[in-house]
């Protein structure tokens, strides 16, 4: 075993053991970190691997959440079945956006704008559909939080933590396999220089669509988790562009296109956000917005001094 796999095994062991020495608050923070690590990993498939910038990933979280949420709300169908509907819908949406963009040569910033547009008009649509409850929201029945009901994905915070840990681990494994396969090489070639990639026999259209489909499917699963973890869905919140940005920040700070970047970025950002709140509270600073200012300054620092993210710098130092 090399140093990288040993470090990974140690990290996995710590995460598995975490609930035995962490309280409920720490566990909810850890769940949130894993949630952002997972969605960041999903976004990274599209941007980090294939170079297609999506600024509308909240679309897939929201559609996934509403699909599984509505099945449960109206028909009592549990998330294990709803998951497949969520994935199917999100993949279909992703393919529509991808076909539109890639067929007509929309790329770069314009592609990013298109992804925002889809997320925004879906948000507005969901605000007006009757079955979603509109801006008033959709509320899933909450059962007792101390029994495990795996069939309906109801249980104590511990269950949600382990579910998110399993998802994150699975996403990590899938991404590392993808990156070492033909798909990973083809995506990176397209990211680096699409014309050169085509000249090597790569059907860029098809491979870019594959990246979008995989990314959308992975994000849809996060949406289902979201619905059953928070139990309430509001279009204004779930589809909002700030949600899309939140998903991106982790991998950007951690390192776009790397496997550990999304994980590390999510941990740093979530802990930083909570840490700043605590620290400001301790110093008695209670000015509205001051937290965002500190948060922004730290992001600025990372972007200025580590433009490729935190992980590549650490990996170099540790010679991983």
């Amino acid at each position: 075993m090399n140093r990288a796999s040993i470090s990974l095994a140690i990290l996995a062991a710590i995460l598995v053991a975490l609930p035995f020495f962490a309280g409920n608050y720490a566990l909810s923070v850890a769940t949130l970190i894993l949630y952002f690590a997972y969605t960041g990993q999903a976004w990274n498939v599209m941007m980090g691997f294939a170079g297609q910038l999506s600024l509308g990933h909240a679309l897939y979280v929201g559609v996934g959440a509403y699909a599984a949420g509505a099945l449960f709300f109206y028909y009592g169908i549990g998330p294990w079945a709803g998951l497949w509907l969520a994935i199917a819908l999100c993949v279909a949406l992703g393919l529509v956006i991808g076909c539109l963009a890639f067929r007509f040569g929309i790329s770069g910033v314009y592609f990013a704008l298109l992804t925002i547009a889809f997320a925004e008009f879906t948000r507005i649509g969901f605000d007006h559909f009757g079955w979603t409850g509109g801006p008033g929201g959709m509320f899933l029945r909450v059962a007792q939080r101390d029994t495990w009901d795996l069939a309906n994905f109801r249980g104590p915070p511990l269950m949600y933590y382990y579910a998110m840990l399993a998802l994150t681990a699975l996403a990590f494994l899938i991404c590392s396999l993808l990156l070492r396969s033909k798909a990973g090489y083809y995506w990176q070639a397209i990211r680096e220089d699409e014309e050169a990639a085509r000249a090597l026999g790569i059907n860029a259209f098809r491979w870019k669509l594959l990246a979008v489909a995989i990314s959308a499917a992975m994000t849809a699963v996060a949406g289902v988790f979201f619905a059953f973890y928070y139990n309430n869905l509001f279009p204004e919140q779930i589809f909002h562009i700030s949600r899309s940005i939140e998903i991106i920040l982790g991998p950007v700070i951690g390192g776009v296109g790397t496997l550990f970047g999304p994980l590390l970025g999510a941990a740093v950002l979530t802990l930083l956000s909570d840490g700043i709140t605590e620290a400001l509270g301790a110093f008695g600073l209670d000015i509205p917005g001051v937290k965002q200012v500190f948060y922004g300054l730290v992001l600025l620092g990372v972007v200025m001094f580590l433009p490729h993210g935190i992980w590549p710098a650490i990996a170099r130092r540790l010679r991983l």
Binding site: Q188, E192, E195, A196, L200, N203
Partner: protein, 241 residues
């Protein structure tokens, strides 16, 4: 038998007539040169063969099958590998990974692609540099990387777009030796577009001369350099041969 047949192809860009009614045949197993002064339409012709643009008129046959109008990736899959005049390495990837991208066209598994890429890098003298990022290579090495990547797709026909440009004479001679060896050992047919006469004369058995988008001469290097039309348009202004 001709591997590549270019039959009276034309390409216009708005009012500009880039290539007009150009025809030439590249026999299988040969090294064929396409030369001409700046703006003669060499790169446009090349790009039509490689599937970057579809010709406005005429046809291009590869192994007897029409390939005009195919996309660049389809042309490559049909067995035509190309290099870019302005090199386009995948800068963020290592040298080996660059070549593996090409190798994946014919190899499904990463291990097989890596083996093929490694053997090609050895042949081109890039073996010791395989783990470096492509962005760190010097220009001659980047040109070699272009060739290695194209070769990894196992082409029947290799299109070389000014791979000698910007190389010193000794580096140029090394490249010439590499292409001779490729042609001799693997029977790879090569179509080279060149400005550097030294390389064309050393390599090509036959040459086609383009001028203002039209073919003005075809033949062996000896015939071409004695052709009055060629001397006037091209070699007259550039006496070193």
């Amino acid at each position: 038998m001709s591997l590549l047949e270019v039959r009276s192809v034309s390409k216009h860009f708005r009012g500009l007539r880039a290539v007009h009614d150009a025809s030439f045949d590249v026999p299988a197993g040969e090294i064929y040169g396409l030369i001409g002064p700046n703006g003669a339409g060499k790169t446009t012709t090349f790009n039509m063969i490689a599937g970057v643009y579809a010709p406005d008129g005429g046809e291009i046959l590869f192994g007897g099958a029409p390939i005009h109008g195919l996309r660049a990736d389809q042309v490559c899959a049909a067995g035509i590998g190309r290099t870019f005049q302005i090199v386009k390495p995948f800068a963020g990837l290592t040298v080996l990974d660059n070549v593996m991208v090409g190798a994946f066209l014919r190899e499904r598994q990463a291990a097989a692609a890596r083996a093929l890429a490694t053997s090609i890098l050895e042949r081109l003298g890039l073996g010791p540099k395989r783990d470096l990022p492509a962005s760190s290579l010097t220009l001659p090495d980047r040109k070699r990387l272009e060739v290695a990547r194209a070769l990894a797709t196992r082409p029947k026909l290799l299109l070389l777009d000014e791979v000698m440009a910007g190389l010193r004479p000794t580096e140029c001679d090394q490249m010439v030796a590499v292409f001779r060896e490729l042609n001799r050992a693997d029977g790879t047919t090569i179509l080279l577009i060149e400005h550097v006469m030294r390389a064309v004369m050393a390599l090509a058995r036959r040459i086609c001369v383009l001028h203002h988008g039209e073919v003005i001469a075809r033949g062996t290097p000896e015939q071409v350099v004695r052709d009055p039309a060629v001397l006037e348009c091209y070699l007259g202004e550039e006496t070193e041969v």
